[in-house]
């Protein structure tokens, strides 16, 4: 089991690195779906074969929503957009990769300082959780396209989910459902807003969202 878990965690980490170099919008949506599916399976692996019905239900719902429904929303939102890639300079890609490696080193270091007794998943999961959160924040801060900001937010959420599982934050069933429902509605509304941004402006660049500003007099 641990072996499989490690492989899954490494794939999640690999996808994080991919997000730093990708520029095709569609590829982002595909990969965030795959990452979501992997993240959704983790609680089952963490339970070590002692999963009960509710856990299966949560994992199933989580996989369906993260792997199918979110990519579907996002794909619908970007349908018919001519501009299909966000171009960035090679230097910027290089810098963000470098930042990614540094952040990875930091998250390995950080995970060692956490209390590690009775962790359900190997301690690698803590690092992967932190790393995924950090990459989500980097995407949110550096990308200009509305769609990529949502991908960044989803990445952040996936990271928090991994962290939660590896710290054994087992919430009551209703709390889990509530969190999933909140995320679902949030992404739904973000999808609608992306669609409206695209209709109202030429493309989805959030740089254009700059009418509202204040200056210190």
């Amino acid at each position: 089991m641990t072996h499989l878990t490690n492989v899954i965690l490494m794939i999640i980490c690999f996808i994080d690195f991919l997000f730093l170099v990708l520029d095709q919008l569609k590829a982002f949506v595909h990969w965030i779906g795959i990452q979501g599916a992997l993240v959704g399976f983790l609680p089952l692996l963490a339970s070590g074969g002692h999963a009960n019905f509710l856990l299966y239900l949560i994992a199933g719902l989580s996989v369906i929503i993260r792997a199918y429904i979110f990519p579907y929303f996002l794909m619908r939102a970007v349908q018919g957009i001519h501009f299909q890639r966000e171009t960035r300079s090679v230097l910027l890609i290089f810098v963000s990769l470098l930042a990614g490696i540094i952040v990875w080193a930091f998250s390995l270091d950080f995970a060692w300082h956490l209390p590690q007794k009775d962790l359900l998943l190997p301690s690698l999961s803590l690092s992967v959780g932190f790393f995924t959160i950090a990459i989500g924040l980097i995407l949110l801060m550096t990308r200009r396209t509305a769609l990529l900001q949502v991908v960044g937010y989803l990445n952040l959420e996936n990271g928090i989910y991994v962290l939660g599982i590896s710290l054994d934050m087992r919430e009551p069933f209703l709390v889990e459902i509530g969190m999933l429902l909140d995320l679902f509605v949030a992404i739904f509304i973000m999808g609608i807003l992306i669609f409206h941004i695209h209709q109202n402006f030429e493309n989805m660049d959030t740089d254009q969202l700059s009418i509202l500003k204040d200056k210190i007099q």
Partner: protein, 488 residues
């Protein structure tokens, strides 16, 4: 009983999603808010039993915030119903950019979201479990985003996007705070079963302080974003200026309070665990930064709705400052929550009236309120006096008591900065409000309808009465709530 107050707005919200008739939808809104108010009043007589295994519980602090929420919501929904009646349903031009046409969000959707917004904020006031609290705060963001986007033009789209993304990320960070509290509560290698307030407080002495400090920072950044503390306030002026006025009133008067309540709950845990001083220092710093930022942006502000929004940042700063000052200010802070909410909501509603008559949010385009809109004009000036803390309004006493507590605790630098920022804000606001009030007008006086100024008048009169006479039950609840905050 405690669940009823949640289910009623939820069921009403679902109903109004399904009903296409605008008239019935408005009736549903009114009925649900009146029912909400009645149940809240019943809670004053008899506190309800906890529910959901103690995750929902109404204490004095919750009751106080719930009452402000309910009272404000009732007044705002009276305004909303008439406002919606007068909104065009077809494509209409944007008055700031006449070449652009837009449509409003369908009314059924708007009212449904409004009711869910009410339900989620009610849940915040009742939640006694950090996970439930987190879900409730997150739900307030989601349910209010469509409300901000009521007028579907580019500016409100921008505001909604910023609001949704910034607050969602903020709240996600607050979830990390929950995890760190979980780690802080690891006892003999075992995590605690639940993050209920009761169990955390009873075991507060064995919480690990280092982790609790990290958790508090995450909470302060996360919920602080939602509360509008600078420098995480970037969404606030945009959302407040582009949302329809009654939504701005609700955001300022109730939503910011909810996040503040969440922070207070966390603060009590910190205090009980012995890291209260650390938390208070952070509150003090963020409070002063917020007031300073607000002062800088209020001076020379060109847009009166943004001015009110920055004033909210200022008042959130005052609340944080008050908590940071020390336990003798807690009573004043809670009193300030009540007074600020009512005043700010009233001002936003009047700003909405001014906007519909003058068709501009620019301060320089609005003058002669006294002659053109006599009722709203007078209320605008009264609101100005109340929000800047002039006697005999309630805000004067709350700000004065906070200041007195700061002097008592020898926070001299804090006191000086506090006074400096307040006077800068007073100058900025006085210039704006008086300019708008005075001046010659060539148009005839606008026929103001009663519903446009009645709710604001009620709110402002309440603030005035609270300044002159604090009713016994209210002062008792305030005392108890303040006592709860310092009893650990």
């Amino acid at each position: 009983m405690i669940c009823w107050i949640l289910w009623i707005p939820c069921v009403a919200g679902i109903l109004s999603f399904g009903i296409r008739s605008n008239k019935i939808g408005r009736w549903i809104l009114l009925t649900a808010t009146i029912a909400h108010m009645l149940i809240t009043l019943m809670f004053w007589i008899h506190k309800p039993q906890p529910a959901w295994h103690g995750a929902l519980k109404l204490d004095s602090l919750g009751l106080l915030f719930l009452t402000v929420l309910s009272f404000l919501f009732l007044n705002v929904s009276l305004y909303t119903i008439q406002y919606l009646k007068n909104e065009p349903h077809e494509l209409h031009p944007d008055f700031q950019n006449p070449y652009q046409f837009f449509k409003n969000t369908p009314e059924s959707l708007f009212i449904g979201c409004l009711l869910f917004f009410l339900a989620s904020m009610t849940l915040v006031t009742l939640a006694h479990d950090l996970n439930v609290l987190w879900i409730a705060v997150e739900t307030t963001t989601i349910s209010s985003a469509p409300l901000v986007y009521f007028h579907r033009h580019q500016r409100s789209l921008e505001a909604t996007w910023k609001y949704l993304i910034l607050c969602s990320v903020g709240i996600a960070l607050a979830l990390l705070g929950n995890f760190f509290i979980g780690i802080a509560a690891v006892v003999h290698g075992k995590l605690m079963a639940s993050l209920s307030l009761g169990s955390l407080l009873s075991k507060a002495k064995i919480l690990k302080k280092a982790w609790l400090r990290i958790a508090f920072i995450f909470f302060l950044v996360g919920y602080g974003t939602k509360m509008g503390l600078a420098p995480m306030h970037a969404w606030l002026p945009d959302a407040h200026s582009e949302a329809p006025s009654m939504i701005s009133a609700l955001l300022s008067g109730t939503l910011l309070n909810c996040s503040f309540l969440a922070l207070l709950r966390i603060f009590v845990i910190c205090e009980a665990a012995g890291v209260g001083i650390f938390a208070q220092k952070l509150f003090l710093i963020f409070g002063l930064i917020s007031m300073g930022v607000a002062a800088l942006f209020i001076l020379g502000q060109k847009d009166y709705k943004r001015l009110l929004a920055y004033s909210s940042v200022e008042h959130m700063g005052i609340l944080a400052f008050g908590i940071g000052v020390g336990s003798s200010a807690f009573f004043a802070v809670l009193f300030h929550v009540v007074c600020h909410s009512l005043t700010k909501a009233a001002l936003f509603l009047i700003a909405g009236n001014i906007l519909t008559v003058y068709h501009s949010k620019m301060i320089l385009r609005v003058n002669g309120l006294a002659k053109r809109m006599p009722y709203s004009g007078i209320l605008w000036i009264i609101g100005f006096l109340a929000i800047t803390g002039m006697p005999p309004f309630g805000t004067f006493f709350s700000e004065f008591w906070i200041l007195k507590a700061a002097v008592d605790h020898h926070q001299m630098i804090g006191v000086m900065l506090f006074l400096l920022f307040l006077s800068m804000i007073f100058i900025g606001m006085a210039w704006t409000f008086l300019n708008m009030f005075q001046g010659e007008v060539f148009e005839t006086a606008h026929q103001e309808r009663r519903w446009t100024y009645f709710p604001s008048a009620i709110l402002l009169i309440t603030v005035l009465i609270l300044g002159l006479y604090l009713p016994m039950p209210l002062s008792q609840e305030l005392q108890w709530a303040a006592h709860w905050l310092r009893s650990y």
